[in-house]
Amino acid sequence: MPKNEVIERLDLDRYKYDFRTEDMPVFRTEPGLSEDVVRAISRYKEEPDWMLEFRLKAYGLYMKKPMPEWGADLSQLGDVLDQIYYYVRPQDRMKHSWQDVPDNIKDTFQKLGIPEAEQKVLAGVGAQYESEMVYHSLKKEWESKGVIFDSIEDGLKKHPELFRDHFATVVPPADNKFAALNSAVWSGGSFVYIPKGVHLETPLQAYFRVNQERMGQFERTLIIADEGSRAHYIEGCTAPVYSTESFHSGVIEIVVAKDARFRYTTIQNWSRNMYNLVTQRALVRDGATMEWLDGNLGSKATMKYPSCYLVGEGAHGSILSIAYASNGQHQDTGGKVVHAAPRTTSTIVSKSISRGTGRASYRGLCKVYEGSTASRSNVECDALLINETARTDTYPYIEIGERSANVGHEATVSKIGEEQLFYLMSRGMSEDEAMAMIVRGFIEPIAKELPLEYAVELNRLIELEMEGSVG
């Protein structure tokens, strides 16, 4: 193949546009939040009036709603929220340099064997171009099938009706304080539409959508999986993500239409100064299946409960989650399932590991409305404590309004036992290796559901975490 043809196929011209953004003036709002800030965001994004009104209304709700007094300790969050910039254009956001990235994070990158270019992206000091090649060819395939995979901003611009029909229908601003905040200042995230009957083999990865506000603080993702479609969406990464920002509050809304099947995988490993408060919810219609696969490894405090609202007959929801809480971390995670139609089924499997002064809480809701006949739900949460100081708690809320429903809940707490450690060490493994092996085995039922590269990286990460955890 002649050289120029190769180049043409790679469509390198696109890079001109990518680089052009550097010439644009810096745009960011003043620190702190006000109505003016909300207006400025909307104006900057050239949004239709309805969206500005939506944002302003949400802003009002946010101001009225009190801070949650349950879950993670948010007493310091008020100060954080007064100081942050609510909107910074992404190309202006890369303020810090590689030198500013903490050594321990660089060290972890090294040990995980992450290529240099990718390290820079994860550390927020570089944009990634390699993966764009892959993305570009996949994009052609998706386009030919009518799949939409855009930034949320482009979704609103290019598909205004589809967008408006579904936006905020699954997570209304009034849902909770942080959903209201996100609704007021959202920026970045994905807009996805899978047409009727389309099956996608390759997962859609948020990672591919480079340079498009993908790591926004107030990301907002809207996904519509139309009737009979099948797809898998992956977001986040196992490697630590360094950010100078300390607050992340996303909203993920998913509509799973009749007989569709959708899986959303997310792994979060924010640096440990981050408050991570995310609302993830799916509306699941007749015969459809929604699967959340959720891993929370990083951050200072996470509150995240992926939910499935099973509103159609025979709908199924599944939530698998792993939480890892190390020194100073609190992972308050779990899941919610709401059964609002007959013969709906759900499973929640939650595994948490706490170590040092870390605390992992499982918080789960299972609600079965009257009339959801012959529905079944099963919840299993297992906690593993690495040492004496670590903490775990379980807060299951079960509300059953239907007599024929069958709801099971099982919770276990285990400590890494002396006998288990001794058994492994008697085979030659060091104490750290033995720990890591037990932890890996513990999360295996969930890790095996992850895409291979994620599972491998997760395992290596656990090994690193277990180094020196003994004693």
């Binding site: 006998e419 001794f422 492994l424 060490m425 008697s426 085979r427 030659g428 493994m429 104490e431 295996e444």
Partner: protein, 262 residues
């Protein structure tokens, strides 16, 4: 102590860590390389404790005595260092490790025996594992099952010997491997152990058992009898035969006499 001695235990006193309870009260035992010694004795006499102390279990504290393994002070070493030095314990009650496959488990154990920077050849390992599963008449599907999780009692015991056959110790401590095995399985396991001994004639075995049956297949050079934390009698295979016939009552008269010295 001759040059070929692999294990030499002298006046070993052991108590439960953090408690006063004394369990071993002066154990003396010398095991020449390549020999098979059986340890018999009533329930609760301290046989498993001896095996675990030799392996480095943190729940026990050595109060007095010495243990020399292969010319080294064994008591100085961590359990994993002992394993790498060539000690292997086939547990009386193997522990379950959910979510960790046998293949993965053994691969990690093999890898940890290599010096830093050296990588285990995965193809060699695969071949070895298959060969050993074959030797022990195990279905290959076992390699992917989580270690001991959901195993029957006999399967757990066989899995212990599989590990031993893969890791090829210099000194194998077998704690009641026979209990829980059916008659056919016992033969298979014994054949496995004997095969290992043929492959490496210097490998030694300390075999804890209650029954003569195991000793029909793995012939001991010496039989020790442990009572209340001490070896009270040591002799040839006939000791085991007599025990089988007469029970521990035979020791009452023996107690009166002096303990037979090696």
């Amino acid at each position: 102590m001759s040059d070929t001695t692999i294990l030499s235990i002298e006046n070993l006193h052991v108590k439960v860590a953090d408690e006063g309870l004394a369990i071993l009260k002066g154990v003396d035992l010398t095991l020449p390389g390549g020999e098979v010694h059986a340890v018999m004795g009533p329930n609760g006499s301290g046989k498993s404790t001896l095996a675990k102390v030799l392996t480095g279990h943190p729940g026990y504290e050595v109060v007095a005595g010495t243990v020399v393994f292969d010319g080294r002070d064994l008591l100085e070493l961590e359990p994993n260092e002992r394993a790498c030095a060539g000690i292997f314990l086939a547990f009386q009650y193997p522990v379950e490790i959910p979510g960790v496959s046998i293949a993965n488990f053994l691969r990690t154990a093999m890898q940890s025996r290599l010096v830093e920077g050296e990588e285990l050849d995965l193809f060699d390992f695969q071949d070895l594992l298959l060969d050993r599963m074959n030797l022990l008449d195990m279905d290959v599907s076992f390699a992917e099952r989580p270690v001991n999780d959901g195993f029957s009692g006999g399967e757990k015991k066989r899995n212990e010997i599989l590990q031993m056959a893969v890791l090829k110790p210099r000194l194998a401590l077998m704690d009641e491997t026979d209990s829980g095995l059916d008659i056919d399985a016992l033969k298979v396991v014994a054949h496995g152990v004997n095969t290992l001994r043929c492959e490496d004639p210097t490998m030694s075995v300390l075999l804890i058992t209650h029954y003569q049956r195991m000793l029909d297949y793995i012939r001991p050079d010496v039989v020790h009898v442990m009572v209340d934390g001490r070896i009270v009698r040591s002799g040839g295979p006939d000791v085991a035969v007599r025990l089988e016939e007469e029970g521990y009552a035979m020791l009452r008269e023996a107690d009166a006499r002096t303990v037979v010295q090696m």
